[in-house]
Amino acid sequence: MSTHAAAAESVRARRLTESVLRVREIGIIGALALLIAVTAILEPRFIHADSLRNLALNASIFAILAVGQTLVIITRNVDLSVSSVLGLSAFLAGDLLSKHPGLALPIVFLLGIGLGAACGLFNGILVTWGQVPALVVTLGTLYAFRGIAFLWTSGRQVNAETLPDSFLNLGSDSVLGIPILVLIALVIVAVIGQWLRDYRAGRELYAIGSNPEGARLAGVRSGRRVLLAFVLSGALAGLGGVLFTARFGTVDATAGVGYELTVIAAAVVGGVAIFGGTGTVYGAALGALLLTTITSSLIVLRVPAFWQQASIGALLLIAIALDRLVGLRVEAALRRRSVRRAD
């Protein structure tokens, strides 16, 4: 093979790997466009500004949680407890502000995020030092954190009337036409996305998920990194909780029940491999947007609730099947290439 051919080959390989990575995001955007178009034809009100705005607001909290979840899943772990962490932090924010309406909002946010981070730290310590599988640990804390929320609220509910307007406005106001909630989600996706792409710590998360033993031998401090992933996931869930209260105003102990599965589904649909090592937060955020859009469009079209659930399930299966198919294809292509090269 001449140098020229080698260069051409290298370009081809790069194009292949890049296109595979993009295929997922483009696929989701395509599915999203199709879904919106079809729904809009059947029910034109769906694309009114208000409706789309609501859609984006709903997707934002899910997207923030999905970003945290992605960090954890990339390391070959999972965080099922995010919905309960969100619940705790949502009630904390609501309770604090209804009792002390004058409290500075940044403090409320810091407390919510801090509470989430503490929950994440607890998960992370059990997983890294305790050597307990993340599935078991976070399944336990999913119930435990929710239980704490019930104890704490003891049946109380925080109502929107008792919350300061400045706080509730966060959930509905816009800057330059973009809702604040959406802006926050976009900033988080962009920052974490860059961190995963361009910083050592971010790349090390991928290494840990791809080959845990190899990461250890390469001198990666795996324990610390996994701990960090859990703390970030918890912190983002905490932030999600405060935003939840700002958006909905009414909070009780059941805030966010069942979110954990939607969030994991969003990440998987977005191309985050459940066995770690691959995926981006951009994909996960798009996955969250797609799932939210499906739910909204089915509601708009007055499809029974059962079909909403079923369609999310079907989407998940399609995404996984596609993954597998594309994965096999790519692997075969790469292998063929490597054989030819060795010739």
Partner: protein, 500 residues
Amino acid sequence: MTDDAPIIELRGASKSYGAVRALREANIALRAGEVRGLVGENGAGKSTLVRLLGGVQRPDGGQVLVDGEPVDLHSTADARSAGVAVIFQEPTLFPDLSVAENVVMGRHPLQALRRIDRRAMQREVADLLDRLGVRLDPDRPVRGLSIADQQIVEIAKALSYDARVLIMDEPTAALSGPEVERLFGVVRALRERGAAVLFISHRLDEVFAICSTVTVMRDGAVVFDGALEGLTSDELVRRMVGRELGALFPKHDAEIGERVLEVKRLTREGVFFDVSFDVRAGEIVALAGLVGAGRSEVARAIFGIDRTDAGHVEMSGRRLPPGRPLAAMQAGIAFVPEDRRMQGLVMDLSVARNATLTRMRALARLGLIRAGAENRLAREWADRLQLRYHRLDDPVGFLSGGNQQKVVLAKWLATEPKLLILDEPTRGIDVGTKAEVHRLMGELAGRGLAVLMISSELPEVLGMADRVLVMHEGRLTSELSRDEADEERVIRAATGVQAA
């Protein structure tokens, strides 16, 4: 430029795993400008010693000294900052990440704001691969790379540390001749620069080719330490084994019977083309060639793992349906793959389970496997293959490499095959077990089994085979009888150089 103080030294180091004493008061010293060989049978403690030097584990007793000062290496990162780079035996690559990232993981080059400088990373890795003389795209993911290419990435990784001490645990196991030569070139360059190299290999000719001094280990202890000059490989082997070995490749005179396997114009686009040959009962046919010539792929296609685009395979005159391993098994083919960890064994399952995996159906009554029958069958094969195990229900991962290979063999021989395909049957196996595997192959052929062996080790090919088929770039380029086959002819055919 040999200094007095060794760069790194183990003094009286001991290490136990449970009740097993893997290392007993071992001493080893690596000096600047020295390439030291480390040889010994599997389980002699070489890898344990490497783990201590590389900071993966700490000794129970004794000391690690760097530049004459006692140190405590807590992690591979500690060892690296002491200037020690290690190529480990176990695969340490990240399949989802690019070749370049695999090489620089943990120490990506940075630019402003501590961001990763991808350009610099690309350049650095491309340079390294150039130094190793391989064409490998730094941007492609590691997934799908051949074992040889993966090995190259491991080597590039270790070289990228610019270490003062380079420790290589069987770096050449998966490499072909020219690749080994290039690696040796790099090792010599390192030595010139004053680095110390510890080279571990089961191929003694390589040890003689590159090393100046040697440490021999046996049963966890260092039994010899000295200059390699003046030693013969026989003497070295005697020190490793502690006993005389018979001929390494027992000749066998089996009656060559009727045609068992016939491969007709088998083609898989982009992999191998128009491959035709046969194997007869009692015959050992070797498939030689460079790594990547398509030998393993042909074997996989015969067994029906991979699909083919043209041609077909016949067993005893009957045509096999393509792409169906079960049909191949039923027709009497047994296939021992190259990568026993990934493809040959279920590491967490017991020795007995693994050995009888292919016979589950026969051992079952009403769909339940009878443990008694399973153990009987496993014990029978364990005895016949002289398997060294503690208990039959120990996980197979506990066994040494050579013994694992025997379990894979047992598993397939239990199906009473007519054709046995062996892909690199003795890779990473110590000299003693190697001889046993060879003896076994001879014996099996003597009983009328047809054997197709893929091997990158020329002495093994020339010593064992009745007939040698050589592949080059996916094509069969030469067929040599036992008398015709010699090193030069095989190498010529394998590298595509036409015979003069």
